[in-house]
Symmetry: C2
Subunit: 385 residues, 2 copies
């Protein structure tokens, strides 16, 4: 730490300017009624921003985050952070989402998975229910993609922002982005859906369901009442391993994990594979600040997703006035490209201004994060059009 601070001073003394550090901010709502009809007495979410808001507040790009993500889309909180926000490769000065032009804002969702991350502010099942003074657990209401959008809208209203140059999100973030374009068509000028979909199908509902299984099967889960006794750590870690696996693709995965040349599993039914253990370790690391119940709520929010929340997709898409861009990953096994394509095709059929560009790469769904720089030009041009 000391050493890194010295490095910062050294760089400064050499005239190498570090980017401004990112600051987490807090937004509070005294009361919020969910789509499911529950009244939450106090809702708080974290947010952060990069770039400068112009005078008429017309240069705002909202970034909506994915399932396991947070509002930390770009930059660093401290010079010593090991890595910047997840989309730092495309958000920054001169980058595809150019912070020299745009004021880029990102918000933690309700029931954010990373409830215990000190950089995350969220209201979810791990939050204290003012009515009981104890964590909600499963007494927390079902929340939806629309609820996430409505909290973001309340934050933007509080900032006097009533027009989005664009809303851009990956995966579960794409659900929010498209729902924004349906819910508030007058306020969204452009929408970018990265590795996304317009609605759920039985295939994806089951794929998501499987992420809940190991948590619910863990005896430490206690139907969600574990905040005093300790998290269902084994179930949570396994859920995270499933998430990483389902978001991957064989080509990338097989490059990263060791081939099954293990000898012990050939003679011992209890022995395990090095590759399975390596994935488990990676998952445990990512699960460190996560809340098991929050995973269940995000699974549910995703499962009940339909752009427009209710009704049918085609009718809902008629409301869209934003220019739209769909960027699925060619090898996505989690949200298969067909889902984005059919939404794009429906918009096209409805005569809307819409674009489609696949992201190629060896990582499947994760290419929405790791391989998106290969399509930075398309994204940049779309935001300028």
């Amino acid at each position: 730490m000391k050493w890194l601070l010295s490095l910062g001073l050294l760089l400064a003394s050499l005239g190498i300017q570090a980017l401004p550090l990112v600051e987490k901010q807090r937004f509070d709502l005294a009361s919020f009624t969910t789509q499911s009809g529950a009244v939450l007495k106090k809702v708080s979410v974290g947010w952060e921003a990069y770039g400068t808001l112009n005078a008429d507040k017309s240069n705002v790009i909202l970034i909506t985050h994915f399932f396991s993500g947070t509002s930390h889309a770009a930059g660093k909180y401290h010079d010593s952070d090991p890595a910047p926000g997840y989309w730092d490769a495309i958000i920054g000065p001169g980058k595809a989402i150019d912070t020299d032009k745009y004021y880029v804002l990102s918000v933690d969702t309700l029931a954010n998975a990373n409830a215990f991350d000190p950089n995350v502010i969220t209201t979810g099942p791990a939050s204290i229910d003012p009515a009981t003074g104890k964590p909600y657990g499963l007494r927390f209401p079902v929340v939806s993609i629309r609820d996430f959008v409505r909290v973001q809208k309340a934050l933007l209203d509080s900032l006097g922002i009533h027009k989005l140059h664009a809303v851009v999100g990956a995966s579960m973030g794409s659900f929010q982005a498209l729902d924004w374009a349906v819910a508030y068509p007058d306020e969204v000028e452009r929408m970018v859906s990265v590795i996304g979909a317009g609605q759920m199908d039985p295939w994806t509902v089951y794929g998501l369901e499987r992420w809940s299984d190991p948590i619910k099967a863990d005896p430490a889960w206690h139907h969600g009442d574990y905040y005093a006794s300790g998290q269902p750590r084994e179930g949570l870690n396994k859920a995270l391993a499933y998430i990483i696996y389902d978001a991957s693709y064989p080509d990338g995965f097989n490059r990263r994990y060791p081939a099954p040349t293990d000898q012990a599993p050939k003679v011992d039914i209890d022995a395990g594979f090095a590759s399975v253990k390596a994935l488990a370790s990676q998952a445990a690391l990512r699960a460190k600040y996560q809340d098991a119940n929050a995973i269940l709520y995000l699974v549910r929010a995703s499962q009940i997703y339909l752009a427009g929340y209710e009704g049918n997709l085609e009718d809902n898409l008629k409301k869209v006035t934003a220019k739209t861009l769909f960027m699925p990953a060619s090898h996505d096994r989690l949200l298969v490209p067909k889902m984005a394509r059919s939404t794009f095709e429906t918009l096209k059929k409805l005569g809307k201004d819409t674009q489609y560009q696949e992201i190629d790469g060896p990582w499947g769904h994760l290419d929405g994060l790791v391989s998106i720089p290969s399509q930075a030009g398309v994204l940049k041009a779309f935001l300028a059009k």
Copy 2:
């Protein structure tokens, strides 16, 4: 039942000949040493055959079964059976695997999943350990694809069959088929790998591992000692649901299961989706006669699979003298076509007589069963060449 018998009589009276009924037969070995070095004092497996063995025993086709399968590849045991064996569409008089020409034989594997199916004979973790008089449980040794092959070889030897016109298998059956061609090159003239692979990779090892998870997470599992207390039914049913799901493809799956228009999940975190329940019911039906521990042993046998059992694939494939045909399913998500293709390409590079033909269809891995009739001509021609 009475009605169906009457139907049989009616058909007979009209001169419509029913096919001869299939009979399950039993093969016993007094002692068998597994590749893992354990000695099993008594091994029994079931087998069945269709067609007639010719005088010089040169018309034998061996069918090796898939993970959830049994030796019941074709025909019916009783006129009243609701469905015939799994590949009945391609095995029978005049069909791709023509029982007018070939004597088609199929054998239950060791540790067969359907240990409690009255039509299955297998030695596995649910069998009585002669040393203790109790079921083996996890004291059963790790068994491998090579062990399955060696039991089949012992059966064929006992029948005086020393040459296979072909060995044909789907999925885990393809592992046995290719391992046959490596282990006994002088006895295998043709090998057909349907929805198969030459070896495992980290991706597939993890995909298989996930089928074990719900069983091991079920408190009723008791580290495999449940034969007195009752099966880990919930874990077993869930494992079967995972197997069905992973063997499917969105197109077919979404046609079969209801779209997520359920209202309860939008307001109740404990509510479930009709599609998830429908898959669970289907899985429970298929799991009815299955043994949870057997699933763990088949997962392991598959995870440690390498054609040739040890060494490296390319060296092992040098031993193959059989003509080979690889038939992966284009949309297979479980054993991705690339696995069959790379094995085919290695054989080709080695100058072997090998063919490659994908099976298209909406069901992914399951197209190896449901859509294979579309490639019956390719299969038939290969068997005649």
